[in-house]
């Protein structure tokens, strides 16, 4: 009898602990995590080591970018639609912040990373970003360097060949990541974010 009682109590304990564990893991998986907790978790995940070349052939790493906040965005020059729109917005928002307070818009760097280094050589990238008429650091590198960087930033990249096989497009995460001067994620701007919210986020970044 005593053995049976112990066994039953043990089963109860397993049940209670199991339920508690399931509840705890479901908390971890997001549904009820607070935004602040999520940001905290993501700020540890996004941003990490990388080594790329800028449009002038100068090496840029996670270490060299430290010291000044930056807005980083992944795209490619064979994207005539969404990529230029995002860069145009960043340029416009930088201007608005500079108008608000001298130097505020220049307090963060704009970093554009090509997800198509095969076609986007440093020269092509340089000519491209120069047309936006605002300082932009344009990064490219080998496939391996790019893979390391997209992994560091949790950016999805997938080549999609056209039906005739002659061309390809590159699906990619279009979110702008706002990184603090310590190289850690502060915030993000989604492609469909309103201008007001985007400006608030950028201003917070610039005032870091």
């Amino acid at each position: 009898m005593r053995f049976l009682r112990t066994l039953l109590w043990a089963l109860v304990a397993v049940f209670v602990l199991g339920t508690a564990y399931l509840w705890w893991s479901s908390q971890l998986n997001g549904a009820t995590l607070s935004e602040a907790d999520k940001n905290e978790a993501l700020s540890e995940l996004v941003g990490g080591p990388f080594e790329m070349s800028d449009q002038n052939g100068k090496m840029v790493t996670d270490q060299t970018l430290k010291g000044k906040p930056f807005a980083i965005f992944f795209g490619f020059t064979h994207c005539p639609d969404v990529c230029p729109t995002s860069l145009q917005r960043l340029k416009k928002w930088r201007g608005i912040l500079n108008d608000k307070q001298a130097g505020l818009g220049d307090a963060f760097q704009i970093v554009f990373v090509t997800v198509d280094p095969t076609r986007d050589t440093p020269k092509i990238l340089g000519d491209y970003v120069a047309l936006f008429d605002t300082p932009i650091i344009a990064l490219s590198g080998s496939e391996a360097q790019l893979a390391q960087m997209t992994q560091s930033y949790m950016v999805y990249v997938s080549k999609h060949p056209s039906a005739d096989g002659k061309d390809y497009s590159v699906d990619h995460t279009a979110t702008i990541y706002l990184m603090g001067k310590d190289g850690k994620l502060v915030s993000t701007i989604a492609y469909d974010e309103t201008e007001g919210v985007s400006l608030e986020k950028l201003e917070r970044l610039a005032r870091q």
Binding site: D81, Q88, L131, Y191
Partner: protein, 211 residues
């Protein structure tokens, strides 16, 4: 946006049909509607046959051999449905109709090879974040301030030549008032070519704390 226009225009059209409108009346209404739609942008709508094409512009493109993008609005003021089948330009090896979509923060761009139908009375918008003309194999750079020409091929209306003013990259697009592009609403989950083999690492954007 194109889809919303479709729905509104089709609804308006079916209402008019119910009221026994003559084709002429339908056409006039559609033309008037087109002018109303773009009145704030102060661009003139040029009647080209029975289709109205307006707001045409292309993005500056720095590299010969590279790509370019163009945008425009087509209003089908005729009493028949039509289809934008293809496009051509003498400054590019090829012109394709493309569509950009946002799928869980991932930008995807696909060719629309089968053309885009424009029902009678409907407005089709080629605008950033959605449909656009893509110039492939530019024979020379497209410089801001220049005007080029693109030829649109319609199933019914045939060839239409459209002037394309080139806008500088630093200026932004005329329609981008800084507000978000509502393209998320347009994501068509059924498009089988949008299926991706692996999961998106960052499925949802984390920071909406200031919303």
């Amino acid at each position: 946006m194109a889809r919303i226009h479709y729905i509104i225009s089709l609804a308006a059209l079916s209402l008019m049909t119910a009221c026994d409108a003559t084709p002429e009346q339908t056409s006039n209404t559609a033309e008037k509607q087109a002018k109303d739609d773009h009145i704030s942008e102060a661009t003139e709508a040029k009647p080209l046959g029975a289709l109205l094409i307006s707001n045409a512009w292309a993005r500056e493109a720095p590299e010969a051999g590279g790509v370019g993008g163009a945008f425009l609005t087509i209003v089908n003021g005729t009493s028949n449905g039509d289809t934008l089948v293809s496009a051509a330009a003498d400054f590019a090896t090829e012109v394709q109709i493309h569509e950009s979509k946002m799928d869980n923060d991932v930008m995807v761009m696909r060719r629309v090879a089968e053309g885009v139908p424009i029902p009678s009375g409907a407005t089709l918008e080629l605008a950033p974040g959605g449909l656009h003309l893509m110039f492939i194999g530019l024979k020379e750079p497209l410089k801001a301030g220049e005007t080029r020409e693109v030829t649109l091929n319609f199933k019914q209306a045939g060839e239409k030549k459209v002037p394309l003013p080139i806008r500088s990259l630093s200026a932004g697009s005329p329609a981008d008032d800084g507000m978000a592009n509502p393209i998320r609403d347009m994501v068509d989950k059924d498009m089988d070519d949008m299926k991706r083999s692996s999961a998106t690492p960052m499925k949802s954007s984390m920071d909406h704390s200031s919303h």
